[in-house]
């Protein structure tokens, strides 16, 4: 019954290919929301930006330290609320976890004004062209990426961190183990 | 300077009346005894097709003079498209006529074309310049091919209708007679829409309303038919005009709903009149006219039209449409209502062909399918253009 077996194999093979394609279709449909977005565990894309004082910051320079990568804007209410906590903890964790606050598309004046008003000392980088924001797929502000000393993303937090404890907890997570 | 636009209008009117005349000539042709349809033409038949050809030539000239006057293919708005569609129906009829020589087909096809052209005339018909999205050669290519495909498919509908009129037993009431009458009723409603709109346009009826739209903003709407229903929180501004009997919620376009209600009401009145005066169903009234044609032939015509028209429709309404959409709108398919209903039409006729060729669905079943198919085409022309985009959004 060679022919019969051959037929069975053919059919099974064809059906398997088709089933694979169907599975792929349904899979891409179900995952289309998150496709292309960064997730915890991914390597944090490197970038370089200037801050309000003219200094350049490149993410890879921070290797070995934890990074609190925060995307913000002066109009954003929750951003304003978390800034004081960030300032306090930046000083506490100096040398271990650094804050890199990326302002999205505003003018020098706006950012400087804001820094003066809230007494911020950590680097405020200017992403005027929104290039870094696009690379990181940031949509609502604020969005914070906690980056581990090895350069991978530990956690992505969307929304303001109202309580100091929340911010502290995040800092702890990316503290380099001594 | 030669007034091309004026000449163009006159030509369209001429075509309209020539089609009407041809209808009567075909009417005379079918009464001639002794000649079975498809077996050769008598004098009336020859006159009928002759007049049809002249009318078609006149409409072609309307088309090209209007093209010259406007500087672009005259298929850029609802009026232009629908008149072109009417012309395609006549053209498709002529094509099928020369293959099969069926005069009874002309008796039914030409009135359909006439009604469609009359319907088109209810809409703004000024020659208008092209908005940026339409400034492309694809306007002519896509729209004409799609309309041609639809025109050919329309013949399958007409042939299917004649088949049903001939073959459905009118001696007693049944589900079939009721459904056939429903189709007749819709045609009557279209006629009533034309009559109602024309009457009030001639009377220059206008009534302005202030109202609140669905975004909660103040807006104005002008009614050209007496308002049976009015807009959301509407206030009548023009004195002496009818106050609405009911107010509509904001997301419904009261003006369009009003028109639909008038058409249906007029249709009911007109239909009732026909039934009362003739004491017969409309289909029963028409039945004697189709005595001399072979059902087999009608079935063949219906099926052949789909076979000829389906590729043309696929090419024009889908392929060319997708090419143009990609160029103009950056995406070849956006699932908007017009595109979706074109796809539904395509899928429906694909199902028709499969049922016919593989499952042997012939005769009456096939005729009903042809009627439904045309219903879908009409839905796309009327409802999608005016209602789906309109009822919700005051287009």
């Amino acid at each position: 019954m060679e022919k019969k077996k051959k037929r069975l194999y053919m059919r099974t093979a064809i059906l398997a290919v088709l089933a694979g394609l169907v599975m792929y279709t349904l899979y891409t449909n179900l995952t289309k929301e998150s496709r292309g977005n960064l997730e915890a565990g991914d390597e944090a894309p490197d970038f370089v930006l200037k801050d309000v004082n003219g200094q350049t910051h490149q993410l890879s320079e921070y290797e070995g330290k934890g990074v609190f990568l925060n995307f913000w804007g002066t109009w954003c209410e929750p951003c304003k609320k978390e800034m004081p906590h960030m300032e306090k903890l930046a000083k506490e964790y100096e040398g271990q976890v650094e804050i890199l606050a990326v302002n999205v598309g505003e003018s020098d004046f706006q950012v400087k004004n804001f820094a003066n008003q809230y007494g911020l000392t950590f680097p405020l980088a200017l992403d005027t062209g929104k290039e870094v924001m696009d690379t990181y797929g940031v949509d609502p502000l604020p969005t914070t990426f906690m980056i581990k000393p090895d350069g991978t993303i530990d956690q992505i937090v969307i929304g303001g961190l109202v309580q100091e404890e929340q911010v502290r907890a995040l800092f702890e997570r990316v503290k380099p183990s001594s | 300077m030669f007034d091309l636009a004026g000449v163009s209008s006159v030509l369209l009117e001429a075509a309209f009346f020539l089609y009407l005349a041809a209808t009567f000539l075909f009417g005379g042709a079918i009464r001639q005894k002794g000649l079975r349809d498809g077996e050769g033409l008598n004098r009336w038949g020859k006159l009928g097709i002759g007049v049809t050809l002249i009318g078609f030539a006149a409409q072609l000239c309307y088309f090209f003079t209007r093209w010259a006057a406007a500087g672009h293919a005259p298929v850029s708005n609802l009026f232009e498209f629908t008149t072109f569609f009417g012309m395609m129906i006549v053209g498709a009829f002529i094509l099928i006529f020369f293959i099969y020589k069926t005069v009874v087909l002309g008796l039914f096809a030409l009135p359909v074309a006439v009604i469609i052209i009359a319907y088109a005339s209810m809409f703004p018909s000024e020659i208008s310049p092209l908005i940026p999205a339409l400034q492309s050669h694809w306007l002519a290519i896509h729209v004409t091919t799609a309309a041609a495909g639809q025109g050919i498919l329309a013949i399958s509908f007409i042939s299917g209708m004649i088949y049903l009129v001939k073959n459905i037993d009118q001696t007693k009431s049944s589900k079939k007679t009721k459904w056939l009458e429903a189709v007749m009723f819709f045609i009557v409603c279209v006629v009533s829409f034309i009559l109602v709109t024309t009457s009030f346009t001639l009377a220059e009826y206008k009534a302005e309303f202030n109202y609140i739209d669905k975004e909660n903003k103040a807006a104005e709407q002008e009614f050209t038919l007496p308002a049976l229903v009015g807009p959301n929180e509407g206030a009548l501004l023009t004195e002496g005009k009818m106050e609405p009997l009911a107010e509509m919620p904001a997301f419904i376009n009261a003006k369009k709903l009003n028109t639909v209600i008038w058409s249906l009401a007029g249709g009911i009145v007109l239909y009732a009149l026909i039934r009362l005066v003739s004491r017969k169903r409309v289909a029963a009234l028409l039945q004697p006219l189709v005595r001399n044609v072979s059902s087999d032939l009608l079935d063949e015509i219906s099926y052949r039209s789909v076979l000829i028209g389906f590729p043309v429709f696929a090419l024009g309404a889908l392929i060319f449409a997708m090419i143009w959409a990609q160029i103009a709108w950056t995406r070849f398919w956006g699932w908007d209502p017009k595109e979706v209903w074109a796809l539904i039409t395509f899928l429906f006729y694909a199902a028709f062909l499969h049922l016919r060729l593989s499952k042997g669905w012939q005769g009456e079943k096939s005729a009903w399918l042809a009627v439904v198919g045309f219903g879908i085409i009409m839905f796309n022309l009327v409802a999608v253009n005016l209602v789906i985009a309109g009822l919700h959004s005051y287009a």
């Binding site: 088709l18 449909n29 | 406007a70 703004p124 310049p129």
Partner: protein, 538 residues
Amino acid sequence: MGKVKCECGHINPNGTILCESCGRALTEKAKQEKIVDMRYEGSARRSQTYNKTIIDRVWNFFSSVKVGIWIIVLLLVAASFGTILPQEFYIPSNVPAETYYEDVYGTFGKIYYTIGFHDLYNSVWFSALVAALGVSLVIASLDRVVPLYRALKNQRVDRHESFMKKQRLFAEQEGTLPLSELEKVKEALAKKRYNVRIENGALLAEKNRFTRWGPYVNHIGLIIFLLGALLRSVPGMYIDELLWIREGETLQIPGTNGEYYVKNNGFTLENYKEGEDPEVFDEAINRVGTVAKNYQTDAVLYRDKNNELPGAEPKLTEVQADSIQVNQPMKFDQFAVYQTSFRQDEMKAMHFALTHKETGKEFGEIVVDLFNQQASYELGKGYKVELLGYYPDFDGFTEAGEPTSKSPLPNNPAFLFNMITPQTPDGEVSFAQIRNTMEPLGETTFKMAFKSLDTRDVSALTIRKDLTLPILAAGGIIFMIGVIQGSYWNHRRLWIREKNGRIYTAGHTNKNWHGLKREIHEVLEGTAIPEPEDRQKE
């Protein structure tokens, strides 16, 4: 179950109904039928013969035309549901779907949203239906095309009389068939473009066999098209981005990984004008109001040599300059940039004059660029204006009296000025917004009087990369070829043979029997050969 050897000597695949070669009936059922089903030439449609394992059952299910038709019908019904209310893509972009449907359409809208119909065409179940259509196309075609090909290839010229007797068009008559008669008929048939073969005293005239493959070709086209659509989700194949770019700005083009930048050198909106444009349009323009004539963004495309890292200072070299209009995208590399939308007269800069309130005397004008503010503006002679705060989209004060802005867009700009003059060296604070000035720290001697506004337009450009387009195009073309191939011709055959003093004729076509009958009539009229009669009464 093995192969079937026919009396004529030809070996047929298992399950064959009519011998591929001579046409004799091989199954009991076929032997008893008066008119045999010729849809697949009596070949063994594979799926009908094996249906034991689950594989076979799945195969048979998808091979069925009835199932295929059901899938088509379900698809078209499902698609219609998505047109009842506007799909999510078409509702205003600034309103979230969760609230829109219920707000505008009430309970029906809420239900529509909850069951997911607002995004029907991207739903899993709709995709599954389309996938099912694809599977059906593949299996149904494979199952039929191979046996059909074999049958049409292996057919013999001299078919057995039993085969001919079971054809829809058939006739038999006493008589003999001299070769000369056959040759005469052959000539007539050749004139009608038949391919005529005479073997063993029998004649087979055949034309347009190619049209039988039409359906299979168009199915292949559809399959390719669906595959192309599927490939869209593969990373890198498809990019769809929207870029809002103001006149004068140079921005990175999203989706190009920082390699390309575009500059907006100006947006133009033109309307048709009476007097300027052809007179024939006047009536339409009057009735409608404004009719748009042209939307155009003059763009310059740059390449960035320094694009390794996002955020790095770009080193731009010009690549091309283009006017992007509707229907005329700018193309580069594998991308196309389209003129999609625009916003006119966005505020760009505001002019203020430092004015003494009582006398109305002005002491200088400052221009505040809403996108690049200065901390202070020197007016000379001891007059200076400091900008203490800028609120592009002013949204009221907090409880503590601090002004807030709800977005970075200059929709409602407000300014906190500190006016320093020789008379007021410590400065006076004034809060200026559109059509309203406040003095939060007490009345001032001076004010910043609004003088004028600079605006500019914003273009919305769509960036598109779609590598699946060639595949979709190929699929579409092949589909059209197949549909035309299958629709506009008919496969016609005429058999004539003599056996034991009787002449047999039979005819077959895959569609348009009327036409075939007419053609046979024209060919056989006036010959001794009987015209086959239509034995199927409808």
